[in-house]
């Protein structure tokens, strides 16, 4: 029983991490049709900025996380303004440009801080464990779940209640029509990119907490699972991404524990294949 509880909590924590990465990806994809390959790079920037602030610059953890998130957000805005926007009329080239950034940034991080994993500063408050139904669960799993829940709530409120959320939702449905109505979709793009970047960078900062260390390849490997989550959840659907994240995180943890030899990663792909055979449009039935 306690194993099941532990695996569930860890799986939820991992799912939360996937959601932090995937939500921004899903929004950016839904609105702009851009498969943002640089999203993993934004995550890495966030995690390294947090790590740098927490160790080299001597910030406390509670200051380092907002700092890392801010740096990631700024990077996302710069990316949108200077790389994505000039290629507005060439969606495929937008994707290709992000591939370039996705290659260059981790390589640069590796050049500066080396390929080895760096231990991540854990505040004493989050380093402990909680006892849940007989299982001993690291506190940071709950932090991740709380952050993801908060993000989901924020995004849903943003999309449902604000004017920009309305523009974003309308833009996902029919970008040409929104533009024809004289609404500046470009600004919504930048905003969505900033939001996505903030979520990814936060994911990077908290991912450091989850894994206990940061390394240049982390962003890219998380990005792949985020892609799986986005496809499974239905393109551009934040709620779908949340449901898929939980599913993927849980399946991965349980498969890892019960089958051994790291079959968890493979089981995720099998899950994806099965879902696509049954429902080619993902859980929410959104068009790809």
């Amino acid at each position: 029983m306690d194993t099941v509880v532990l695996l569930s909590c860890t799986g939820l924590g991992l799912g939360a991490l996937y959601f932090l990465v995937a939500s921004g990806l899903s929004l950016i994809f839904g609105l702009m049709d851009v498969l943002n390959f640089a999203h993993g790079a934004l995550l890495s920037i966030g995690s390294y900025a947090t790590w740098w602030a927490g160790t080299e610059a001597g910030f406390s953890f509670w200051l380092a996380v907002p700092f890392g998130t801010l740096v990631g957000t700024a990077a996302a805005v710069l990316l949108e303004l200077f790389l994505i926007r000039p290629l507005y009329s060439r969606p495929r080239d937008q994707i290709l440009a992000t591939v370039g950034v996705g290659l260059a940034v981790p390589a640069l991080l590796m050049g500066i801080w080396g390929a080895d994993a760096r231990p991540f500063p854990q505040p004493a408050l989050l380093a402990g464990t909680w006892h849940v139904l007989g299982a001993t669960v690291p506190v940071n799993r709950f932090v991740l779940v709380a952050a993801a829940g908060l993000l989901l709530l924020t995004l849903r409120l943003f999309l449902a209640r604000t004017r920009y959320g309305l523009i974003v939702r309308a833009g996902v449905e029919d970008r040409a029509m929104v533009t024809a109505l004289g609404i500046d979709v470009q600004r919504a793009f930048t905003l969505v990119f900033a939001l996505g970047g903030a979520a990814a960078a936060l994911g990077g900062a908290l991912g450091g907490l989850y894994f206990g260390s940061v390394n240049p390849g982390q962003g890219t490997s998380l990005l792949i699972f985020a892609f799986v989550v986005v496809v499974m959840g239905g393109m551009g659907s934040v709620t779908g991404a949340a449901v898929a994240s939980v599913g993927v995180g849980l399946v991965q943890q349980f498969a890892n524990y019960y089958t051994g030899a790291g079959l968890g990663d493979l089981s995720v792909v099998v899950l994806l294949a099965v879902l696509l055979l049954v429902r080619p449009r993902g859980l929410t039935g959104r068009l790809a």
């Binding site: 370039g100 792949i224 393109m235 030899a261 790291g262």
Partner: protein
Amino acid sequence: MHAALRWWPIALLITLLVAPYSALPVPGLLDGPLGSSGSLQLIALCLLYGALATGYDLLLGRTGLLSFGHALYFATGLYATDLGMLELRLPFAAAAAFGVACTVLLAVLLGSVSLRVTGIGFSMVTLAFAQAGAILVQRNPGGVTGGEEGRSAPADLLPSGLLGIENTANLYWVAVGYLLLTVAAVHWAVNSPAGRVWEGIKENERRVAVLGLRPYGYKLVAFVLSGALAGLGGVVYLLLTGGATPQAAGSDTTLALLVMVVLGGSGTRWGPLLGGVLYTWADHRLGDLANSSAVADLPAVLRVPLSQPLFLLGALFVAVVYLLPGGLAGLPARIRASRSARSVRTLVGVPAGRPTGGNPA
């Protein structure tokens, strides 16, 4: 003059075929003279990747399918052939057939699943499958793949004419042969009736469906053909490098193919080939540059990025997307367009502004 220019592929082919007999020094481009085994090895690798990129472009440039999992089929050909020899003790020819057969089977299976999703979803799904393959290779199930180390090919089962430094010329000819086969296969396929449907799918898939054709089947054929060519490339790679390493399965390999195609110009006949050759050459020379003392003496601001080949690669990629839409193959047309635009302007007396022309990929 024009007629002579039309025969340049033949001239190039003859040059390629006689290259091993030449002792022509190519300073700057290659370390040794043209016919030395080191140079031949590098050229063979360049040609191999040129061919791989040409095969990959069957999906990207001809059918409009952005696959992020092409490395999987390359690696399947590579590993299945190697394991066919190591584990099943098949002779090389049988193992190669086994490797290509495995690749085709996998391409049919995964292609039929991933093509159920269209557009970007397809890209993500192919990436997920390829990643699963890369993980499988890394995890070394049953000690079969050798994990990080990979497995070297058994010397006793390889044809003796393809072994050792003294036979580099033979390996080089194998690579030339593979290139010819790929170029011919792609050319033939693109000009076949199916090729015209692919073009239609690339332009507008819905219109093809409205015409009463099922795009799914045509896309699957392109996927499998492209995968089979990549699998065959894996066999050639096994011969060239003498073993299978997990890097072949990684997503970086797919991204490298993508960079090659975009650099050369996707959807053109020679662009991907040119891109593959240039990329591979640059990749090797950049590696040398990164390790050279000239870079080590630079201040950190320059040294750190220059010592990371992947950084240079990513930056190059972004630059190509921006500055060279249509790739190198589209360059002559762009120059011609800008020149004619300028001459028109001089005739009409319009002040020079932004050059027009160049069609976005």
